[in-house]
């Protein structure tokens, strides 16, 4: 058995969003004293163990808590209860283009994005050519990013995310854009990462790609694990439940 990469134990996350009801003067004043809160359990006692070299899928309906559990793994959200252990250098592609400034050139944004994910200036200098070549954007690199198509943008962002040479990648719906060629290329890169005993956590609404790409998967619903196991069987269960409901 290979070593664990991510161990999440009994993770519970609760949000307390302000309830937005019709504002009245009395309510607004009352809000100053005790804010009207309604607790929302985004993750309810979730435990998973993800191993090195594994591609792990997460499926579930909108609002099931998929992004939330990735944020816990990325350590940008502290769980209310439970512990999370992460062993390795994480690249978090929860959203693409974090740290980018659309007004600035692609060149500048490689530095902004690279520094944001924790690379040093020197490291980016060394990897700059590879990043641009990988994204295949040499002819657009000095143009402001706001003039990029969304596919070009995500290619650049994905390349920057890969540049930190992560051993763990957290992907939240980020491969949905990009053309066929680039998708194939990024899949290839991810397979190489897995072959090097890297770990990928993959959130996607594209069930075929989860079934095909992932070894294991969980199905989350309303913050709880409904099923955990081999990716194909989890996807199959999820699919049958969803089609059953809509029928």
């Amino acid at each position: 058995m290979s070593a664990p990469a991510i161990v999440a134990r009994n993770i519970t996350v609760r949000f307390r969003p302000l309830v937005d009801r019709k504002p009245t003067l009395r309510r607004s004043l009352g809000r100053l004293q005790h804010r009207e809160v309604e607790e929302l359990v985004a993750l309810d006692d979730v435990s998973v163990e993800i191993k090195k070299g594994e591609a792990f899928g997460i499926v579930g309906r909108n609002g099931a808590g998929k992004s939330t559990i990735l944020r816990v793994m990325a350590k940008t959200l502290r769980p209310d209860e439970g512990t999370i252990n992460v062993y390795g250098k994480t690249s978090t592609l929860l959203q693409l283009g974090v740290g980018f400034n659309a007004q600035l050139s692609g060149r500048r944004n490689i530095y902004l994005g690279g520094l944001a994910v924790g690379l040093s200036k020197k490291e980016i200098d060394g990897r700059f050519d590879d990043i641009v070549t990988y994204a295949d954007l040499w002819d657009a690199i000095d143009r402001p990013v706001r003039t990029y198509s969304s596919g070009m943008f995500s290619r650049l962002a994905f390349s920057v995310g890969m540049a930190i040479e992560p051993s763990i990648m957290l992907l939240d719906e980020v491969l949905a854009v990009g053309d066929e060629a680039f998708r194939e290329k990024s899949m290839q890169t991810m397979r190489e990462l897995l072959a090097r005993a890297g770990t990928i956590v993959f959130v996607s609404h594209s069930l075929p790609s989860v079934a095909e790409f992932c070894d294991r998967a969980i199905w989350l619903d309303k913050g709880k694990i409904v099923a955990i196991g081999e990716a194909e069987s989890v996807v199959e269960q999820y699919r049958s439940r969803v089609t059953h409901k809509t029928r």
Binding site: R9, S47, K75, T76, L104, R108
Partner: protein, 350 residues
């Protein structure tokens, strides 16, 4: 971070129940999820830094809640009680280039679409000075300050210094709330964001000092000299003071967004209540309580020091340095610690 075990504080059960299932029967394949066992920390997961949290660091870290997000290795008792702020400062230091690029990126982006582009760096303080000079120099002709010093250098030195503070606050108040994407995706010492805002305003301020001497040199014959060296301690203290203000407003604005709207009014009031458009001697003849209240303004010692360095006005150097230091340290300590104490929860509110 590679190869090291990272751990978040919290409940630490020895045995983990296997994943809960709502629909117990709906599970196809059980063999796949073996019962979880307590996972021993991998051999590489020891943290060498967990030794000797001593003295000052303990005191500092006692108020820091940063560690739960970024702490490494299973916490020892010492670490649990005194989360390490040494790590915080080290992580922050590792982010210095990021803070700098973020600041410069914002500065560049602001003028990226304008025709004059980077000229605006110089034009902004120039126009700012021109507006106030038109109104308060020409319209309300103040003549000379204390019958001795030209009004123009007096005005510009005060205005430029004040706008450094104002810019730090307006950039600082947005520094967390406008970077929600960074907060949601990447774990780093959040202090890097108000610091970046501070850098951004600092670059503008340094430019405006250059513009100042370009104006008052030919016009009033004030050129940089030995006296000007007093700018260095003054700016240092002013930086610390503005750092405190930026963190303070950044912290408050997270749960209380209204501050974004309030800051411009607050700074305008502060401008009028400070001896910037009028000299301190303007208050002569006022009752004692007015003098007392106006004397509480933290900007007074800073302005006095700037006028000393840039205009050559006499100042009680010891008193001004002491006052400026006291305000700078007090605000920076309060703002900085309060910010760091809160930062673990910030991601939930942006």
């Amino acid at each position: 971070m590679s190869g090291r075990g990272d751990c978040m504080a919290g409940r630490n059960p020895n045995l983990i129940p296997s994943a809960k299932r709502d629909a117990a029967g709906s599970l196809g394949r059980r063999g796949q999820d073996r019962p979880y066992l307590a996972i021993p920390t991998p051999s590489g997961g020891r943290d060498k830094r967990s030794v000797s949290d001593t003295g000052l660091w303990r005191c500092l870290s006692a108020v820091s809640s940063y560690t739960p997000l970024a702490m490494s290795a299973p916490p020892s008792t010492v670490r649990r009680l005194f989360p390490a702020s040494r790590n915080y400062i080290r992580d922050l230091w590792a982010r210095r280039e990021f803070a700098w690029y973020l600041a410069m990126g914002n500065l560049k982006a602001r003028n990226a679409t304008t025709t004059l582009g980077l000229m605006w760096w110089v034009l902004n303080p120039l126009l700012l000075g021109a507006v106030y000079w038109l109104v308060f120099g020409l319209l309300f002709d103040r003549g000379q300050v204390d019958n001795e010093f030209d009004f123009l250098p007096f005005l510009l030195s005060g205005i430029f210094a004040f706008f450094f503070t104002q810019q730090s606050m307006t950039a600082g108040v947005n520094s967390i709330t406008s970077n929600a994407k960074l907060l949601a995706n990447i774990s780093f010492p959040r202090l890097a964001l108000p610091l970046s805002a501070l850098l951004e305003s600092f670059v503008g301020f340094v430019t405006s000092i250059g513009v100042y001497f370009l104006i008052v040199g030919p016009v009033n014959g004030i050129w940089p000299g030995v006296q000007t060296l007093w700018l260095f301690p003054t700016i240092l203290l002013h930086l610390i003071f503005n750092f405190g203000l930026a963190t303070l407003v950044a912290r408050i604005a997270v749960p209380f967004r209204d501050l974004n709207n309030l800051v411009p009014y607050f700074t305008r009031l502060w401008l009028y209540l400070s001896p910037i458009l009028y000299p301190p001697s303007f208050l002569e003849g006022q009752p004692a309580w007015v003098h007392f209240t106006m004397g509480l303004n933290p900007l007074n010692p800073f302005l006095a020091l700037y006028r000393h360095a840039m205009v050559g006005m006499p100042v009680d150097l010891g008193g001004a340095l002491l006052g400026a230091s006291a305000w700078a340290v007090a605000i920076a300590v309060v703002g900085g610690f309060w910010f760091v104490k809160y930062e673990g929860r910030m991601a939930r509110y942006v």
